[in-house]
């Protein structure tokens, strides 16, 4: 009887330890990923259903309509060295609400339309030079 009651009490030491470990892990993971991605993207690669639809330079301002099944389902815009989804016919429009991306590793995804926009760069992410 006591054991089930105690499970509903407020925090105990075990909980604080667990929460601290989880938060620490999260923060470390955040900085780890941050270090591995750099703001030196050069090209934008658009994938449709996992296959390459097209590659475009980040330096060139342009609007890219993505065609699927005869209609334009998504529209990308490259401007100021960043990429943003400006139009989508998906029901949730999460992709349109997402921030513009510019660094390697960042992506914009429209799950319902299976569109993935990712940044390519010339440098290997995370490493400036490899010494042999």
């Amino acid at each position: 009887m006591n054991k089930s009651r105690s499970a509903q009490r407020r925090l105990a030491k075990a909980d604080l330890v667990l929460l601290a470990v989880l938060l620490l892990f999260g923060v470390l993971a955040f900085f780890a990923v941050r270090m591995l991605t750099q703001k030196n993207g050069t090209d934008v690669e658009v994938l449709l259903h996992g296959e390459i639809y097209g590659t475009y330079p980040l330096s060139e301002e342009q609007k890219i309509p993505i065609h699927q099944n005869g209609t334009v389902t998504n529209t990308l815009q490259i401007a100021d060295g960043t990429v943003k989804m400006i139009q989508a016919d998906c029901p949730d429009k999460l992709c349109v609400h997402q921030n513009a991306i510019a660094g390697q590793g960042e992506t914009i995804v429209c799950l319902p339309n299976q569109v993935v926009v990712q940044i390519l760069g010339t440098k290997e992410p995370g490493l400036d030079s490899i010494s042999r």
Binding site: R9, L11, L22, G50, P91, L94, Q118
Partner: protein, 170 residues
Amino acid sequence: MKQTAQLSLFLALALICSYIESLLPFHFGIPGIKLGLANIVVLLALYYMGAKYALAVSVMRILLAGLLFGNLFSILYSLAGGLFSFACMVLLKRCEKFKVISVSTAGGIAHNLGQILMAAAVVENSRLFYYFPVLFLAGAVTGILIGTVAQEMLLRLPVERMQTYRKEKP
């Protein structure tokens, strides 16, 4: 059966939570972050009725809320997140050392993790894991908040009291 009535009540509550959440604009520029209000109800069902019923609440809520307030695509990802989240919550609850807040935090994190895993699998792209830390932390924070609400309710309406209501003759 009293169980059915109680289950339905929980389901209705969970749906209302989903509805309220669908009205709140919760866009942070990063996909996959949500408050998870309905998880308060799943947690309560878990503690008051047990894993079997709580699972029913969770799955049925995801299906119905997806049909009513969301869209068909989102159901797949919500289910992936919801099931993984539920498994983690049941596991953590089994370890009697952890209280509601821990269970809820694990649930929140696991829900977001489950969603990225499913999304990455569907679009066959592992780069989506770039968002893993943000979603991990967001899931932890919302988990703590949701867990606090559930905790305060459980403290005021203890499980034992609810069970004595059930044992009374209908």
